[in-house]
Symmetry: C5
Subunit: 363 residues, 5 copies
Amino acid sequence: MHKLLKKRSKKAGLLPGSLLHIGEQKTHDIKITIISYNETVYEKKELTSIEEYVSFFRALSLRTEKPFISWVNVDGVHNPEVVRTLGDIFGVHPLVQEDILNTDQRPKTEDYGNYLYIVLKMLSLRSDKGNGLQTEQVSLLVFPNAVVSFQEEKVGDVFDPIRDRLRNNKGAIRKEGADYLAYSLMDAVVDNYFITLENIGDKIEILENELLENPGQATLKSIYHLKREMIFLRKAVWPLRDVISTLSREESSFIRPATKMYLRDIYDHVIGAIDVIETFREMITEVLEIYLSGISNRLNSVMKVLTLIATIFMPLTFIASIYGMNFKHMPELDWKWGYPAILAVMGVTGVLMLILFKKKKWV
Amino acid sequence: MHKLLKKRSKKAGLLPGSLLHIGEQKTHDIKITIISYNETVYEKKELTSIEEYVSFFRALSLRTEKPFISWVNVDGVHNPEVVRTLGDIFGVHPLVQEDILNTDQRPKTEDYGNYLYIVLKMLSLRSDKGNGLQTEQVSLLVFPNAVVSFQEEKVGDVFDPIRDRLRNNKGAIRKEGADYLAYSLMDAVVDNYFITLENIGDKIEILENELLENPGQATLKSIYHLKREMIFLRKAVWPLRDVISTLSREESSFIRPATKMYLRDIYDHVIGAIDVIETFREMITEVLEIYLSGISNRLNSVMKVLTLIATIFMPLTFIASIYGMNFKHMPELDWKWGYPAILAVMGVTGVLMLILFKKKKWV
Amino acid sequence: MHKLLKKRSKKAGLLPGSLLHIGEQKTHDIKITIISYNETVYEKKELTSIEEYVSFFRALSLRTEKPFISWVNVDGVHNPEVVRTLGDIFGVHPLVQEDILNTDQRPKTEDYGNYLYIVLKMLSLRSDKGNGLQTEQVSLLVFPNAVVSFQEEKVGDVFDPIRDRLRNNKGAIRKEGADYLAYSLMDAVVDNYFITLENIGDKIEILENELLENPGQATLKSIYHLKREMIFLRKAVWPLRDVISTLSREESSFIRPATKMYLRDIYDHVIGAIDVIETFREMITEVLEIYLSGISNRLNSVMKVLTLIATIFMPLTFIASIYGMNFKHMPELDWKWGYPAILAVMGVTGVLMLILFKKKKWV
Amino acid sequence: MHKLLKKRSKKAGLLPGSLLHIGEQKTHDIKITIISYNETVYEKKELTSIEEYVSFFRALSLRTEKPFISWVNVDGVHNPEVVRTLGDIFGVHPLVQEDILNTDQRPKTEDYGNYLYIVLKMLSLRSDKGNGLQTEQVSLLVFPNAVVSFQEEKVGDVFDPIRDRLRNNKGAIRKEGADYLAYSLMDAVVDNYFITLENIGDKIEILENELLENPGQATLKSIYHLKREMIFLRKAVWPLRDVISTLSREESSFIRPATKMYLRDIYDHVIGAIDVIETFREMITEVLEIYLSGISNRLNSVMKVLTLIATIFMPLTFIASIYGMNFKHMPELDWKWGYPAILAVMGVTGVLMLILFKKKKWV
Amino acid sequence: MHKLLKKRSKKAGLLPGSLLHIGEQKTHDIKITIISYNETVYEKKELTSIEEYVSFFRALSLRTEKPFISWVNVDGVHNPEVVRTLGDIFGVHPLVQEDILNTDQRPKTEDYGNYLYIVLKMLSLRSDKGNGLQTEQVSLLVFPNAVVSFQEEKVGDVFDPIRDRLRNNKGAIRKEGADYLAYSLMDAVVDNYFITLENIGDKIEILENELLENPGQATLKSIYHLKREMIFLRKAVWPLRDVISTLSREESSFIRPATKMYLRDIYDHVIGAIDVIETFREMITEVLEIYLSGISNRLNSVMKVLTLIATIFMPLTFIASIYGMNFKHMPELDWKWGYPAILAVMGVTGVLMLILFKKKKWV
């Protein structure tokens, strides 16, 4: 339950712009990595203490006037102090600092004049947490010469290829500006959706096989579990469409026209992911309908067997019970062939009933 | 029932602008509190008689031309006289006065040139009233140097943090204008929604557990009770989106650009609340579907037991009743091993039936 | 049936602008009342013959150039002659005359340059006609100095308060223009909707109680009866939203800015009515779902009883029938305690079955 | 099936603008009627051979420069030659010629600069073809001084009133231009919809009565038959709304402002027809739901009877079978009042069961 | 499963613009055919080696400045090298090259200034692959004097008529520009949809017959199979509407006004195809509802038979079992006419039960 509604109510009554972490604390240590690069230079630094940030950033804020691009990556956002210090150095509005801490945001983008604020959702299926879908908030601050990214947890797998490209000067990334870096980060997040979607596709396939072989109450629970995961997915992916569309259409000084073409490409991927999500929703609905009509079908089969048995044996038992009566004057009882005759009558009755059932296609 | 449709029909045939309280009378005494403040001054006054209002407001209307911000808070709106007197002093249009009294309004905002009229809905879950969802109308009149707020009942808990901030000069509130005060009031109302939503989230969780353990007609009633509460919630929250969106986008002399950034923040919260409401609606629908498919499943289980019993015992009883017949000439009856033989036949028949059931996966 | 589709097909093949009354003839006599007023003068005249109309209107059309407002109210529209005569005097387009007679119109507004044509629907629940919902068409022609209103039937109750205000010079009505009069008439019609809505709300409440106490096929019929009434209501009220919205937004010489504020008020009422209608629709759907799940639940209860009885008595009867067999060699029959022993076996079997049922929560 | 999807695939691979008749051939002979008229002149000519067309049209194309209006009506469109000859004379684009032959078009309007192309659907319920709904395509080409109409079949009944008005100079039709003639033809088609709709309304009423009296599998088939007819109706009528709306709004040299007012009137009729169609769809859905809940209700009734019978007779039969056992030592059997006593016990048991059923409201 | 979601996840982490084939490899050899033509010249060349491409295209890129139109058709897109070589020669953006290889695109169009990129989906029902629906991606690059088309597999049947028209100079195709060629290719793809749709229409008809004659679990599977195919169809056809609409409306230097008229014609066909798809979806839903209500109906029939049998034979067996009791004092047993009397009682009871059933319309 808490997954759908983080304890945002803690904030009721606080000052607007109050910094308070909302969400699960997913990692213990906050780790800040700074990669500064241009076409020729590549420098990487990891910070560990809050004092170091301040001195480093003061230096950095001087350096960023040179044609350097800096990527400041923050793993872990549960410490308001870190966000505030960083935010104040970069001149970030208190409401944005509040949003970075509040990991219950919808994907959105906001243009604050001297920087761009972008919220994305990262998806992952964790086997260690009951195989459930996890969403994680990624906040990006795009400055003319720097990108600051905030993650709830170290998601190295997803951003590692970008770090690799920066280090080894692969592709155009070191020739392009901060907007291209921001695009690359967003692209990594969106490409990652398809891994989650394929995983869910596999689950649907498994469910379909289960339906054919051995459907039960557990199948129903799996169906509803998947259905609920799709609600999550939609919440994470749908608003992204507007975010990317806004970024690629609006006149903004941060996104250069050449980069907009790349954003249009992400836009296509997001539309593709939404298409798959909607298709999955329809398929899960189908699976549910098949499950429910399967219950009705099995009820029908059970009832047919019951009716078959009752229809055959009730008349036969009635006939037998007639000749079990103790009347003094029951001439049939004394007949020599009475017993075989009545057995024959019973046999004929039973066969007639079976024929009737065959004709009604119930057997 | 009366909750969904207040007795607005009382007004049919009356003059437009007729002042008539529509809704439940939720409090007995009307209490008017005036807080006047600027960066250095803080003054609070409570009024109790109607005469006092007039004299005070005349003075106040003189004073508000000075760089003072006044917050006039009215608890209880069931007395048309109070609304009219206040309204006339502030030069409020009769239709607005009518709307303040009519507590059956949708959230809306209207720009009357020299003041702004905003209607919000406060939500609360009252344990003293059958644990039901209560909505309460909050009307705000925003003037360049004053905010007049009308509540149906004293909702001190929600506005108290703002009073506290004003008294102790916490945050920026005493440095900002009437628009920031209005924003703070709206923010308090919207933040409060999440408490209600979490409460409903808990109820859904309880329902889900009930479904697994002991579903019954009472569960169904709880489901529909929740469903109806969601109708309320939507009615209260959905229109707010347009209200905040209008306030933050329109060119208005009352809302300064700096405050619009804060309104955009409320907008995000309202969108978040709507997201949660829609998710809850989907979850309640799911819970209902699980409940209904549970009924079908249990019917199936019951029928399988019935069929099992009938299928095993009907043929056996038939066999027994054959040898209960009183025919004179029934050779089997005289056989020495007739009785054990027939018992064996019965046992084999029963076991065969059970095997058949196992094969059809009905046991 | 005819209520949903009036015999409009009578018109197929006729000239456009052909005057033909479509709809039920709801009243026998056509009554025309003319109220002419300004701030100081109030004059009322009732006409009874067609000749009188012409002479009166010729005079009136002269007089309306003076600063007089005239309200011509026509009760009954089944006589094309009356509509044509009035229409020709006022210079009304033949298509408008046709629409006035055709009582199967959707609410709409059309600006014909020198006058405005407005169609509304009046709602009433008539106890004398099977307690069904009746809709009645009200057509308004708004001229700079006159309003002509057409009703299917005398709906005195609804417009009487306006007549009263005009006679007694209550409120602003005699100070304002024809647009304010038109607004007042529309307001009276819309205010009246809430009486109908409350009535339907009561019916839903009754249905909900019936569901709990004694649901049956009659309940189902009531539910569908209400559902169908809601279709009517929507058809009558929904298009009104656009009508009022058009009137209050468009630049029109007939509606002065001051009156537009009042129209905005009606707009809020119409939105409120639509909200209530949509809520009622959701509630009726809920009631239907509860009814249907109630059927399933009762089927389940019935089946449990059947299964309980069969599961207990079938094995017992089988045991008894074994000892009813007439085999010569059945040693148990000769045992002294055979009978009590077998009774004990039966008792234990029955109790075991009951315990099994208790464990499965079927009793 | 072929009704929903005409064999358009025949065209795959052909040149665009290839003339090929798509649809059923509904009439054998193609009949071309030309009515040329102005305020004083009325001339009618029927053509039978293809040679005659050419010579006549050459003459006509000279004459249409005079202030004459010509209405060329073509009954039957299965001959591509006729359409091509006519099309070439009037300078019609090959794609339009193709669309005229392809009777599987959606209603649409296209402005080709020197003429206007309009496609409509005519509806009819034919008793000779299994009482099914038939749609027929009517294509109109509107030139400044001529209208060319193409019908699949002679639909004299619908256009006859217009021919009559032209012949007898009734109404304004001979005083107006080609646009008014086109309007008259469209009006005739739309007015005709209401006859079909009333017919379907009657069918729904019959279905509702059938539901109350004698529902069966046949009722279900009728419901789905009607449902499918509604799909047709929607396909034919919905797009017409945009067609008329486009015609009445766009700046076009073919439609004069005076005629636009008449088009607005057709627009209202189309909206009315759509309203009725949507209402019918909701009613058919209702009828289906009542049918399905009727099945559940009857299942319940049947099961109650079964349970009643089983619950009463199973215990009784068990009691009787106990005293049918052949134990030597059964003291009750020797009691004088044993038999009446046991009959009394059985009677009491039966009555108790009945009372239990009454209490549970199952009888 | 893989049909709904191709393994796009392979791309996660790669550089944007990385060329990687996504989708099934449907053909082994890549075949490139070049047709160059103008009104007088027609030349066709097939290339087989990658070296040949380069030399040919260099020559071609020189020649295309002459008023030649070239159509380069590529069968098979699984080789990134081929796409890259071609793309680089024509100056195609890396993102477009990536999209050509990724056969999981939605239909779309993009204007890259010096060329137009169009993605379409080809539909086919393959009998060799379990009669399932196959979609195949067709990418078009439209240059001022050339069209490059990429197909997953040789779909000669669909484009052959165009090749034929080019070779034999049929129709206007050799007189028109590259935009007309692109239109012809799109038209061929869209016309081909109707063959697939007719095929599905036939399947629905077969299903409807199966429903009436012999419905079973297999029918249900066929219904859901069709439903899933409709999801595909919608995904392939719906976005095409926007594609064609964009092409025919936007100001583009590639599409001349004369060709836009032809695009409008394709637009009508796409709308027609969408109409058919939506109708099919409604019909499949209907078929499913009929199937499900058929299950309920059959359950009812079965239960009626069971109830009939039980209701008749349970009381009779009870009567017989009474006279099977072994009480000493049962006077009836000694009566001479006891046996026939009790048989008569049984007969009357049975007949009464039957009459009751007839009255309740259960037989």
